[in-house]
Amino acid sequence: MSAVFTQAFSAVSTRWNSLLDWFTGPQRNTWGISFLRIILGETLTVQLIVNFPFRSYLWGPAAAWSQELRPSSEFPFQRAVFGPTADSALMTTGYLILVAAAVAFTLGWHTRIATLVVLAAHTSLVFSDGVYMDQSDNLLRFALFYALFMNSAAHWSLDARRDSARRESVSQESVCQSPTALSTLRSRLSGYTAIAHNTALAAFGAHLCLIYVASAMFKIQGGKWQHGTAVFYPLQIPHFSPFPELSALASSNGIAVMIASYAAVYFQLFFPFMLLHRVLRKVALLGVVGMHLGIAVLMGLPFFSFFMLAGDSIFVSDKTYAAVDGWIRRKWRDARRPSAPASQTMIIDDSPTTSSTSPVRSAAE
């Protein structure tokens, strides 16, 4: 009996250590998280610019008529900067700071600080009204919260470029210099920051899966989703058909409506399980990307759709991102390289180390 317990304990212990290894290992999915940062930041920046002419109408003194309507739950000092009772100049200043922080976040410039500023300012903005905050705002807030704990500037960022330059200059100066106190501290903390990064990544991925499955579970309770006609209805409503001609085209064919309705339910319901299979993962991602693009174009919800697409980007493998990045860089490099037949090229060698007495020699040498 005790041998059975020992074996079972050993098996559990091994599995537990394997699980911990995932969290204590290197930072995971850094490419996908960097892509998330860019899509989130870009979408938010565009949304803020689009709303700029309406900032007072939505979150400032032009919306004073809504001051007695408040969100169902609140943060402290919620209407300190934005809101129906806000000062116009303060509100505009706060809005511009948010835009600047969103741009910095997108570019990956002092990313951790930019993430915190965007999170605080955007939360303050959307919670200041009690009427039109929606799931798009909620989703962005979650993504920013998790991004605070992740390294979202590992690639395609100004922080990465600056760090790379710093490392190269340090390595060029002296190999024999002893490490600084800062570098020693960084090295000691790196394991813990990796744990925080991987934990936040797991939390965000699980949260997205919950959203998809719950959305599907709510849908399958409805008769119109069961009968495959659900997609037809919102496309008839003026508010959800900014392009009525496209909506009419998309919703007139019964088979297309049925396929879209069932696909919306099944891709969401089985999304987490499809991620576990190498091929089905790609199918699942293509399915939800298609769904969100359809919503963005046909239903006038581009910002919500792109926030969701940003979240989906963490499920694409680093290998795929790195391959695409490498391909783009090769194409860029090839495009910049001057092309000419070798026999026609003359090389001017003005290097002080060359032994040639003539600065000009043919490429044939």
Partner: protein
């Protein structure tokens, strides 16, 4: 013939990108920005990872309970769940579910003289719909009257008949105080309070809208109604079109301008659609 210059001076333009990009010569993915990763986790790392896993499990379980449809477990844990989730993780994902949106609510307003002579209704939602039409990047402002009308319609629908009647009556002065007085005998609830707040806010919006269009002389009353636009049944899609009906007509109210209302900014925003 092309001239190519090769210099002994190191080209520093591209060297700063090395560790953040693929290695140009081999196209290997390079190490991410940040401190180097330790090769062997220490005991401290394992303890930290264990704590992280526990926090992760609790957090995901809380998200699951909050997002899931109502069930015995999330009902039993309602108070601690609310304390944990709200406000940071506030969310609801029953989007277009269980039934998709098949009708939308819009706002119509008008000014009424004191003698209640009939006047024309004006759509307060049309300007927003104009801002939405053929616009790939619509502003959040295209949603306001739709949300107001929908929220009031929902709040009104939760009230008992005797309280609904209060909202359809006209009140020329101190409208909301009068309405609250009338409701005292009917056991008011948070639903009534919510409906009253929305009614007042909609009247405030209507006041600004009519003023911006020079449709609200001094002393006139304000009235609003909710229009319901419904899609035809799927089976009738080739022969029927959307139908528009009056969902409810509120009674007239006095004009109301809330403290700090920037009327000029409101009018400018309407022109921006």
């Amino acid at each position: 013939m092309q001239m190519t210059r090769r210099s002994g001076v190191t080209d520093t333009v591209n060297s700063g990108m090395g560790s953040a990009r693929t290695d140009a010569s081999t196209d290997r993915p390079s190490q991410p920005f940040g401190p180097a990763q330790p090769t062997q986790p220490t005991r401290g790392h394992r303890v930290a990872a264990t704590i992280a896993v526990v926090i992760l499990a609790v957090h995901i379980f809380a998200m699951f309970l909050w997002i899931a449809p109502r069930n015995p477990l999330n009902q039993a844990l309602d108070r601690p769940l609310r304390a944990y989730v709200l406000p940071m993780f506030q969310q609801s994902w029953s989007l277009f579910a269980p039934d998709p949106i098949s009708a939308a609510y819009y706002l119509e307003v008008r000014a009424l003289p004191q003698d209640l002579t009939e006047t024309e209704w004006v759509s307060a939602s049309d300007v927003e719909l104009d801002g939405l039409l053929h616009n790939p990047l619509p502003s959040t402002a295209t949603n306001i009257t739709n949300k107001l009308a929908t929220q009031f319609n929902d709040a009104f629908g939760k009230l008992p008949a005797e309280q609904q009647q209060i909202f359809t009556q006209g009140f020329a002065e101190d409208s909301w105080a009068e309405m609250g007085q009338q409701a005292i005998s009917t056991s008011t609830s948070s639903d009534f309070t919510r409906a009253l707040e929305l009614d007042k806010a909609i009247t405030g919006y209507a006041t600004q809208f009519l003023k911006a269009h020079d449709l609200l002389p001094e002393g006139h009353l304000v009235q609003y109604r909710i229009l319901r636009v419904a899609a035809p049944n799927f089976d009738d899609r080739h022969i029927a079109e959307n139908t528009a009906t009056i969902s409810l007509s509120a009674g007239y109210r006095n004009q109301i301008v809330f403290d700090g209302q920037d009327e000029a900014a409101f009018a400018r925003a309407l022109e921006n659609f």
